[in-house]
């Protein structure tokens, strides 16, 4: 009896939590299929009575929205690719190479992680204004080409791998670059995938930096674009359709690489 009761309590809690976590996403997707004029009238409007594709049609016809998506792709794909390569190399360097100043440089890196990014935004804004980088992709791509966190993750990962492989390859006459690409990189695929997924999510979802460096509407990534639609009268369906579209890549990445997210979080937190 008490066993049954416990099961009931447990599953009730589970259903409530599922409801809480799932509901916003259901509302978003359902809302995107609703005609604008019905959207805000009925609190339970997420229950569909008629599916309309008008919001999506509107978005795909609207040149500016497609531009936002394109901008998001540019400022995400390049840093992701670059982070995966550079963090892997640098992580390898810090895990396996001996060179003067290695410890102190790494120590400085670790200290710099503590600096909140908001502190750097004002000087970076002044710098980028000088460089002529405001309203260009440079401001969002160049600073993100590699990251300390990624280097840290790769270093942690490679420290647990024995040096024998590397030494054997070195004895066979392979040089550094060959060893990295033929021995280390294939071994590091899981951690490199982690770096890539994290970088994807943080660049795709970033709001603060593009908000400051991008002042022209046609340079907005989809986050800033959606933010500019937020709360405007009669936009709810379009906002939800836009959210659904911008959520889709994140969701797919998450679906396929879920393991790497959770492992990355564990690796970064618990040494």
């Amino acid at each position: 009896m008490t066993y049954l009761l416990k099961k009931i309590v447990m599953y009730t809690a589970l259903i409530l939590l599922t409801f809480t976590f799932l509901m916003p996403f259901v509302i978003m997707i359902m809302g995107s299929f609703k005609e604008v004029q019905y959207a805000q009238v009925d609190p339970l409007f997420w229950i569909p009575d008629e599916i309309s594709l008008n919001n999506y049609v509107h978005i795909f016809r609207d040149g500016i929205f497609m531009r936002w998506i394109f901008n998001s792709i540019v400022i995400t794909i390049i840093p992701v690719a670059s982070q995966m390569l550079l963090c892997a190399v640098l992580g390898y360097v810090f895990a396996k190479k001996q060179f003067p100043g290695r410890e102190i440089i790494f120590w400085i890196f670790m200290a710099v992680i503590m600096i909140p990014q908001q502190l750097l935004i004002i000087p970076k804004y002044i710098m980028f204004a000088d460089f002529g980088w405001i309203n260009t992709y440079w401001s969002l791509i160049v600073p993100e080409l590699w990251g300390i966190m990624g280097v840290f993750l790769v270093r942690q990962f490679l420290q647990n791998i024995p040096n024998d492989l590397e030494e054997a390859a070195y004895m066979d006459g392979a040089n550094d670059i060959q060893i990295f690409f033929k021995v280390i990189l294939p071994l590091s695929i899981p951690v490199v995938a982690t770096v890539g997924t994290f970088s994807f999510i943080s660049n795709w979802n970033d709001l603060f930096q593009p908000l400051i460096y991008m002042t022209k509407e046609e340079m907005f990534p989809v986050t800033v674009g959606l933010a500019s639609l937020l709360g405007k009268e009669g936009n709810f369906g379009i906002e939800m359709a836009g959210s659904t579209i911008s959520f889709l890549p994140t969701f797919l990445i998450f679906l396929f690489f879920q393991r790497y997210f959770t492992e990355g979080i564990q690796m970064s937190g618990l040494k």
């Binding site: 589970l14 978003m28 190399v89 890196f109 710099v112 998450f254």
Partner: protein, 296 residues
């Protein structure tokens, strides 16, 4: 000599080819801005015209700026609403997925989903759920219990709590992962021994699980505190700092000063205030975490 250089190059080429550019990049985009920001706090840096040295003027202005102190207070208040519930929620979610429930992976994914979703999307939904009109969904549900419609985001007493709720929803999935890892590292023999002694589930939780998670509690507390001091997105997206400055947090105020009012130097002062707060929290972490993490 040449031979030795060649050998050194072969062995360490990768260091020179990749590390040197990376370090230059690091100096330009991390170290230089950090120092420049500090210099900025002693200057009047107009967007146009030449900068001018003004000494401690902006720091003094900060000390007398009631709104800045209100922003700090709001941020502390936000932390109070946010930290413990996020930890509790993360622990509950971790206990659920660690309890041998079916479809464990599905639930883990579901609870983690908000973590990877953009703030803009979640804020858009939240704004609608907590709409202060009768057609808002939360108000609709409250009406079943005979509760009058609440203003939520337009009420200066409630807005910050609603924003904290959003953050709890967004972040507890990652807290769950830390706790899940912690739960799995507790030795199974402890539970077996307790069960043989006839301890109840509640008793086992409070005497074994909860205390043995101490290093995790500590770590999670630190990172959620640091996160809560940097809160910006939800305020920007949903309330614009209002009503009546009740949701103006440090970073939001910094943004407004810097990029709406173009007081770049004053914003730099605020960013250093934020830095000192976070540094203090991190140093406390250093001091205690080193000892605590070797518990088992």
């Amino acid at each position: 000599m040449l031979q030795r250089l060649k050998r050194e190059w072969d062995r360490n080429a990768i260091v020179y080819i990749f590390l040197v550019p990376a370090l230059i990049h690091f100096l330009i985009f991390q170290i230089f801005p950090f120092g420049f920001s500090f210099v900025l706090t002693f200057m009047d840096w107009k967007v146009i015209g030449t900068p001018e040295f003004v000494g401690l003027k902006h720091w003094a202005a900060f000390l007398n700026d009631k709104l800045a102190w209100k922003a700090i207070w709001n941020t502390v208040l936000f932390s109070i609403y946010y930290i413990v519930p996020t930890m509790a929620m993360g622990l509950i979610l971790a206990l659920i997925i660690n309890s041998g429930v079916r479809f464990k992976k599905v639930f883990k994914g579901l609870f983690f989903l908000p973590v990877v979703t953009s703030f803009v999307i979640i804020a858009g939904l939240w704004g609608w759920l907590f709409s202060g009109t009768e057609s808002g969904m939360v108000n609709y549900f409250l009406s079943f219990f005979g509760i009058d419609p609440q203003l939520f985001l337009s009420d200066s007493g409630q807005a910050l709590m609603v924003l904290a709720g959003l953050s709890i929803f967004k972040v507890s999935g990652s807290t769950m992962i830390y706790y899940f890892a912690g739960l799995q590292s507790i030795p199974k023999q402890l539970y077996e021994a307790a069960r043989i002694d006839g301890a109840s589930k509640m008793r086992i939780f409070w005497t074994i699980t909860f205390p043995l998670l101490k290093p995790i509690h500590f770590y999670v507390a630190i990172i959620t505190t640091i996160g809560s001091f940097q809160i910006f997105d939800s305020t920007f997206l949903l309330t614009g700092g209002g009503p009546n400055y009740s949701t103006t947090t440090i970073v939001y105020y910094l943004y407004e000063q810097g990029f709406t009012s173009l007081n770049l130097s004053y914003a730099a002062v605020l960013s250093y205030v934020l830095f000192f707060i976070i540094l203090t929290v991190s140093l406390i972490q250093r001091k205690y975490l080193g000892k605590e993490s070797s518990i088992y």
